[in-house]
């Protein structure tokens, strides 16, 4: 307990609150530093190295000052440091406006603010900066560990505020109060999270750097572009089939379709777009829900061949003359789509002559040996199908090696691959095959996308990673339309059936996660990814559509904004009511001795003998005895007993209960 007069000068009444500490106490400083540290840690992967170094040294400096109980550095020095940081950020990013320089500035400001703290207002400003930075990390990563870091950061920030308001309390008490506040805040969070009217962002145009550099397929393909992708264990998309999934050899997920070739690089042309497919779906049908990671491209990576797509809030699904499913806009957020595909569909039967002519074009003067070979193979062939057979037979017999590390190729990339190095990855196979077919006069094109995928045994979802990226070819045959040919399968049939790891030759280094021998690691990853998937679907994927579904399941259909706001207010008020009940609950937990004495006094007050506030039990007893002589003995005994129990040496419970009983039995006559 402490009670000290603070000020009593004439101006004291003006400044409310904020007892000015000369600087931070050790306790306050440590909590703040911990909050800042936990807040900044998840940013370490996304900020330039010098900002991380600067933040770490500023925090270290602050900790040292705190430890040495020194005053914060001079204002001027801090001002210079701030200016230097601003200039450095400008140098690094070239501008101040935008997400990345903004986050960098916030991180530096937080560290500088901690050094500057002189008043309680500075502490609050630092805590606000912590909250902003906890939020900013979600631009990059919203995984469960980051959420956990934000939660602990919030808790630490709350402890820091508590240490500011009540510097005398013990650590343990501060931590408990903060945890209590957090626990009481959680129901509000849950309620608001579920009921707050969700709108699909963005509210206005996103800044250019809203989406960070994403890995994934690009809209050009040259030797090496897909094998670069293979090293990444990142998930490209997840698929949940409503029935059984198609067999591995039918799992071709269609991305860009390349039709123009300059001898080295394949490029995509702009296909025709329509709201319905250019073909009639037929054969087996697979219904699935695909959850795409943002790749900043328009393709939907649907299973060949998509027939119908659900509008998923990002605009209707478009279909192209290259049998692709496209989005209206490049994909910036993780999104889900309900799609159906018919793998046995025939496509391109009615393709225009211009399309087929474009699928025959080859640049002049490049890859001469391949063109000669194609002409030989095509000589005397009765139909395109025969040419196809011959080309496939040639490739099968030429014993090309499938490898993750193909040698670099020069100008005539196809010639070098087929005749010199004879080692290549899927893009080499697809490219070489397509060039041969075109040179032989058969329309052909390259398709990039993903092939295969792995079923996660924990939740049964098919996970397709960047390492499943693949390129294959299509040839156009009269009466059969575009026919998929996967030349990689000729050299490495396991690639299609069992995935990349099985297809590579012995001794070739694999990315860690693809190693077959580390079974426990893979199983751990399966579990983690199943959890992450549930998190993505339930928490991160909670959007306007899901909100509607949830409300419909609760029995509220067609809920509009005012209704949602009313529901929110109702739920909020009930939660508040529960908290109020908790806050008022103390009354009943009073001391039993005090309670029975109160009962006694109340009863006598009703009889016209109230106890004066200053009267002790003994005096009161004497006065009562004088006023009510008939019961004098009993009154004296009761008041005496109470006095002894209250003020005497430790009273035991039995005696208190006895007094309680006597008071209950006592009746005025």
């Amino acid at each position: 307990m402490r009670a000290e007069p603070t000020r009593h000068d004439a101006h004291a009444g003006r400044a409310i609150g904020s007892l000015p500490p000369p600087s931070l106490t050790l306790q306050q400083g440590l909590w703040l530093l911990a909050a800042a540290g936990v807040t900044l840690a998840p940013h370490a992967g996304y900020l330039p190295w010098w900002i991380i170094a600067a933040c770490a040294s500023l925090l270290g400096w602050r900790a040292w000052l705190l430890w040495q109980r020194r005053q914060p550095p001079h204002r001027l020095l801090l001002l210079l440091l701030t200016l230097a940081c601003g200039v450095a950020v400008r140098q690094t990013y070239g501008h101040f406006f935008g997400k990345d320089p903004g986050v960098a500035l916030l991180a530096l400001l937080l560290c500088l603010k901690l050094l500057e703290i002189r008043r309680s207002r500075d502490v609050r400003a630092a805590v606000l900066l912590c909250f902003f930075l906890q939020m900013a990390v979600f631009f990059e990563d919203q995984s469960p560990p980051v959420a956990l870091a934000a939660l602990s950061g919030t808790w630490l920030a709350v402890v820091a505020l508590l240490a500011l308001a009540d510097p005398t309390a013990a650590h343990r008490e501060q931590m408990r109060t903060a945890a209590l506040l957090l626990a009481q805040g959680l129901p509000f969070m849950l309620m608001l999270f579920l009921l707050f009217p969700r709108v699909q962002g963005p509210l206005w145009g996103l800044p250019a750097d809203a989406a960070s550099a994403r890995s994934g397929l690009s809209d050009t393909m040259s030797p090496g572009s897909i094998s670069d992708l293979i090293a990444s264990p990142d998930i490209a998309f997840r698929v949940e089939f409503s029935g059984s999934p198609p067999e591995p050899s039918a799992r071709y997920w269609r991305g860009p379709v390349f039709t123009r070739f300059d001898g080295r690089t394949w490029r995509a042309e702009r296909p025709l777009e329509a709201s319905t497919p250019f073909y009639t779906p037929s054969g087996r049908r697979f219904d699935y829900r695909i959850t795409l990671e943002p790749h900043d491209q328009r393709w939907l990576l649907a299973l060949d061949f998509p027939g119908a797509g659900a509008d998923a809030g990002v605009g209707p699904v478009r279909f192209t003359s290259f049998a692709q499913a496209l989005l209206a806009r490049p994909l910036q957020n993780r999104s889900r789509f309900d799609l159906s595909s018919w793998p046995d569909t025939t496509t391109g039967l009615q393709d225009a002559q211009a399309t087929l002519a474009a699928a025959l074009a080859l640049p002049d003067g490049v890859n001469p040996r391949s063109r000669d070979l194609a002409r030989q193979l095509a000589a005397g062939a009765g139909s395109d199908a025969v040419i196809l057979e011959r080309v496939l037979a040639y490739l099968r017999s030429s014993r090309l090696t499938y490898t993750l590390k193909p040698p670099l190729l020069g100008h005539d990339s196809v010639d070098e691959f087929l005749f010199d190095v004879r080692r290549g990855f899927c893009e080499h196979f697809a490219s070489a095959f397509t060039v041969l077919m075109r040179a032989a006069g058969v329309p052909a094109r390259v398709v990039a996308g993903y092939q295969g995928g792995e079923i996660n045994p924990i939740d049964g979802h098919l996970v397709v990673r960047q390492s499943d990226a693949h390129a294959w070819a299509e040839v156009w045959l009269a009466g059969r339309g575009w026919v998929r040919v996967d030349p990689t399968a000729l050299a490495a049939p396991q690639r299609i059936e069992a995935g990349l790891a099985a297809a590579l030759p012995e001794g070739e280094a694999l990315p860690l996660m693809m190693r077959q021998d580390l079974g426990w690691l893979r199983s751990l990853r399966h579990r983690w990814e199943a959890l992450a998937n549930a998190w993505d679907q339930r928490v991160l994927g909670y959007n306007p559509e899901k909100q509607r579904e949830l409300l419909a399941r609760l029995g509220f259909r067609e809920v509009d904004w005012p209704q949602l706001v009313a529901m929110m207010s109702g739920a909020g008020l009930s939660l508040l009511g529960i908290l109020m009940a908790w806050a008022s609950w103390q009354r009943r937990t009073r001391d039993p001795l005090e309670r029975s004495w109160q009962t006694f006094c109340n009863r006598l007050a009703r009889a016209g003998h109230p106890r004066a506030p200053w009267e002790g039990p003994r005096d009161y007893g004497r006065r009562l005895a004088a006023a009510l002589p008939r019961q004098a003995d009993e009154l004296l005994r009761l008041t005496e007993l109470y006095g002894r129990l209250r003020y005497g040496a430790a009273a035991d419970r039995a005696e208190i209960r006895a007094l309680n009983r006597q008071i209950r039995k006592f009746e005025l006559q």
Binding site: M1, R2, A3, P5, T6, R7, H8, A10, A12, G13, G17, L19, R124, L128, F131, F132, M135, F138, F139, Q142, A147, A150, T154, V158, L161, A165, D166, T168, A169, E173, T177, L181, Q184, G185, P187, F188, M189, L192, F193, F196, G201, P202, L203, W204, A210, V539, L540, G541, Y542, G572, L576, L579, M580, A583, S584, Q586, T589, R590, D591, P613
Partner: protein, 341 residues
Amino acid sequence: MPSATLPLASTLRRTVRPLLDRWLFRLARPEPSPILLHQRRIYVLPTSAGLGLAAALLAMLIASINYSLSLGYGLTFLIAGIGVASIIHAFRNLFCLSVSAGRCEPAFCGESARFVFQVANLRSSRRPALRLRARGGETAFDLAAADVTSVELACLATRRGWLRAGRTTLETTWPLGLIRAWSVFIPDLACIVYPQPEPTPPPLPLGAAEGGNGRRLANTGDEDFHGLRPYRDSDSPRHVAWKALARGAPLLTKQYAGQRGEDVVLDWHTLPATLGDEERLSRLAAWLLAAERAGHRYGLELPSARIDAGHGEPHLHRCLRALALYRTTDTPLAGSTQDAR
């Protein structure tokens, strides 16, 4: 009086506050102790820090919507929920506190009047970071679990007469400084303020009738040690029992017997005509203290009252009180809420 030179906010506050006091807080007259802070007496409003946080949360919400950050929504709502919970905690920190008016020692004008309140915590948990404010004075204190503590509130006494504690606020911004919970009441507590003693008064008008040997008498009065009594603010440092203090005793004042000193009558009417009323009171106060210190028997003659010669502390206080209340009409329990400022 609001004047044109006052800033608008101050003017507004002066106009609005009495209305609020009457209609919202229902303040009218001093309340008998104990004052129990029940639910309807506790008010909560955000502090400037709370408003700042609300603005920050709004910005975070807009960012979450614009960038479709699910966890952004979550974090924003969690912090908002913590803010709401802190309202309840702030309320709970004051809820069911019981405030009783304690005593108040007399003070001289220009010094601090020290109001003492007894604040009782009936709950078995701690109540941190409470503040009691009245008349520009402010005291911060904590309350231990199930405890009663005396809180002393020092306010500057600027006018002689009764100084009432008046509009008193018990407030807290615990736990997070975002919300201020407060309760206003007028305790039944007043302090009597004596006139400020003249700093350098002329010597006591000793033996004005008999011809002055007062100096000698005063000296003898000073020399005969009589006993010790607790130190008071008005005592001269020369009379403090420093030796006793060094031995660990509290601050004591040596008293000297001057009973053989002559009677002195401090008469309002014999003061120079050039002095105004307050100056006369000031001089009389200084003389009363000097006479008491010197050990004379002294009496007081005012236009409105006459106090016969006497000696000792109760007598001194009776005289000073007569000075304090000279031509004032107020009583300690007048129930006025007028602000002295």
